[in-house]
């Protein structure tokens, strides 16, 4: 719980806020204006959302490769950009969000990643952001990750994934992409996304194999790492974080097998095993006794 600010801080805060409102620079966040033709790129944090943004920006704007400096004016993230800025975007807009189920998001591309890998990536992210001290044990982070301690408004990984898949899983305005599939066969997964965008009255996108391969090459971890080295000081997500730790990290699948302690694996699998299995993430510890009640109990409207 944050300590209550003293009155001087409060007045300063109020003035800063008044300035932002006056200048129309309030960060959109949950209050983002939603247009009926908006398409949201949603995921729990550290599930490949930035990579997907690069892939799509490189496909949609083939003449101006995506960089950390231009990505926020192509596919902006709602937590760092003012509503007024985003309202002026060409429609239909593509917006990045980490929210749990939002009933008023008209179309959603949902990215999901194996939570055992998310745990590792999130851990390094919090060290980079100075939320965790250097050398903080990963094994101590996992229980805090399980209860969604760091970004409570995004929920836990389970809250985020389950709320979307239960409510929109069988809706044609919802497309789910697994990070692991995107790694394995990016052309195939991107084709699904492009098909979804075009169904959502998005302007025609060049979907030749060459265009896909070019976009994939322009969004490779190597290129993104090189861009990050140049631009980390200006990009909203990396500004003010530790420079010795990269945002674009290993970009791999299955790192948990060697990096997570057995007890951490057991903890994640026993808390979320039901949802993980439903997404095709095989468990290595004894399967949890709880069946996927929530999913089997609530179907979608007939």
């Amino acid at each position: 719980m944050p300590s209550s600010p003293n009155s001087f801080d409060r007045i300063l805060g109020a003035l800063a806020q008044a300035g932002r409102v006056l200048a129309g620079r309030q960060i959109a966040g949950r209050g983002v204006t939603v247009f009926p033709d908006d398409i949201f790129l949603v995921s729990y944090p550290r599930s490949g959302n930035t990579w997907m943004r690069f892939l799509l920006a490189n496909l949609i704007y083939p003449n101006q490769p995506a960089t950390f400096s231009n990505i926020e004016s192509r596919i902006p993230e709602i937590y760092f950009n003012p509503d007024r800025f985003m309202r002026q975007f060409p429609r239909p807009r593509l917006l990045k969000s980490h929210e749990c189920f939002q009933p008023h998001y008209p179309r959603v591309i949902y990215l999901v990643r194996d939570p055992r890998d998310v745990a590792i990536s999130f851990y390094h992210h919090h060290v980079k952001a100075r939320n965790l001290p250097d050398g903080y044990p990963l094994v101590d982070f996992v229980p805090r990750f399980l209860v969604g301690e760091f970004d409570p408004k995004f929920g836990s990984w389970r809250d985020n994934v389950l709320s979307w898949t239960v409510l929109r899983g069988s809706n044609p305005a919802f497309l789910q992409i697994r990070y692991e599939d995107l790694q394995r066969d990016p052309v195939h997964e991107l084709a699904k996304v492009v098909e979804f965008l075009e169904r959502s009255s998005f302007p025609k996108i060049d979907s030749s194999t060459e265009a896909f391969e070019r976009a994939i090459a322009l969004s490779s971890p190597e290129r993104m790492r090189a861009l990050e080295q140049k631009e980390a000081g200006t990009w909203v997500l990396t500004k003010g974080t530790r420079k010795d730790k990269p945002f674009v990290r290993s970009a791999t699948v299955g790192g948990w097998k060697s990096q997570l302690a057995p007890e951490s694996i057991v903890a994640i699998e026993s808390a979320w095993g039901d949802v993980m299995q439903n997404l095709g993430y095989g468990l290595v510890s004894t399967p949890s006794p709880t069946a996927v009640e929530a999913i089997s109990q609530s179907g979608s409207p007939s």
């Binding site: 719980m1 109020a14 003035l15 806020q17 008044a18 409102v21 006056l22 309030q26 949950r30 209050g31 939603v34 749990c100 189920f101 939002q102 009933p103 008023h104 969604g148 409570p152 408004k153 995004f154 929920g155 836990s156 389970r158 809250d159 985020n160 389950l162 709320s163 239960v166 409510l167 009640e293 929530a294 999913i295 109990q297 609530s298 179907g299 979608s300 409207p301 007939s302």
Partner: protein
């Protein structure tokens, strides 16, 4: 001239908004700062949330009964107070928000959507959103897809009835969650309030429960509304010739809701309605059809 006036009034409005936001005076809503220990009374609109607030409030506060004049300071609504004002108020909070992962303790009230629609229609007329002669046939489809946006009554951010109920039911695990059906509360309010007392670990002798039920009866609430409608944020500036506390019963859809609207609701939300134990006309018709053949 007109333009200048419009610009000035726009500026004044903008300035007012700046002051509200800067000093944290706009209603908290989804921007609420959730504190550990918060208790939420959650429902889709027109599902018995105010009645539940009266029941719980009258159980907790043994000194003065809950009225429309004090309910917002005892069991405050997220849509009446600012986040900052709420920090100084008791934290049993009324919410109409769709699933929010930060809510850790939730009392969720669900009501037959066919009755919800009838109630919402009358409230919309009371609020002046719909004209007196507006047909229910036209209102129902707008409510069904969750796009009807009236601020006070429904809001796309709260989702449709289906999104609202299904999101909370699906996410009830890993949090403290109590599901109440409005119809069960009508059937035996004392029994249902005892469940709440048990859930919140409140002292609840039969006498206390009976007192709370008595002080929250529809008749009593109607009397209070007559006296206090102008003081309460939900009735202030609404049509005084129509009541907020209306029939407080179940099944009025059978006489008030057009057949077509019943069929629309059941074909859109039927699966979830069945799970909640609401008997569908559609199913009864199908059964009769079977018997005939």
């Amino acid at each position: 001239m007109n333009n200048t006036l419009r610009r000035i009034s726009g500026l004044i409005q903008h300035a007012g908004k700046i002051i509200d936001v800067a000093f944290d005076r706009s209603p908290a809503g989804r921007n609420l700062t959730v504190l550990p220990g918060d208790i939420f009374i959650v429902s889709y609109p027109k599902s018995g949330n105010t009645w539940t607030r009266f029941l719980i409030g009258n159980l907790i506060y043994q000194d003065t009964p809950i009225t429309f004049a004090n309910v917002e300071s005892r069991l405050p609504s997220l849509y009446v107070h600012s986040d900052r004002a709420l920090r100084k108020l008791p934290r049993i909070l009324k919410s109409h928000d769709c699933f929010d992962p930060r809510y850790r303790t939730v009392i969720y009230i669900v009501r037959d959507p066919r009755d919800v629609v009838v109630s919402a229609y009358h409230y919309a007329v009371k609020l002046g959103i719909l004209p007196n002669n507006h047909g229910m046939e036209e209102f129902v489809p707008r409510l069904l897809d969750g796009s009807f946006d009236s601020g006070l009554l429904v809001n796309p951010r709260w989702g449709s009835w289906y999104d609202h109920v299904a999101s909370w039911l699906a996410m009830q695990h890993n949090r403290k969650f109590l599901l109440l059906r409005y119809e069960d509360m009508l059937d035996d309010p004392q029994r249902e309030l005892a469940k709440v007392a048990d859930f919140l670990q409140l002292e609840a002798s039969p006498e206390r429960l009976a007192r709370a039920v008595q002080l929250s009866s529809a008749d009593h609430m109607r009397e209070l509304e007559k006296k206090q409608a102008a003081e309460w944020s939900l009735t202030k500036n609404t049509r005084p010739d129509m009541a907020f506390v209306r029939q407080a019963k179940q099944g009025s859809w059978k006489s008030e809701l057009p057949r077509r609207a019943v069929a629309d609701i059941e074909s859109t939300w039927g699966s979830l309605m069945r799970k909640l134990g609401y008997v569908l006309v559609m199913d009864a018709d199908a059964d009769r059809e079977l018997i005939r053949h």
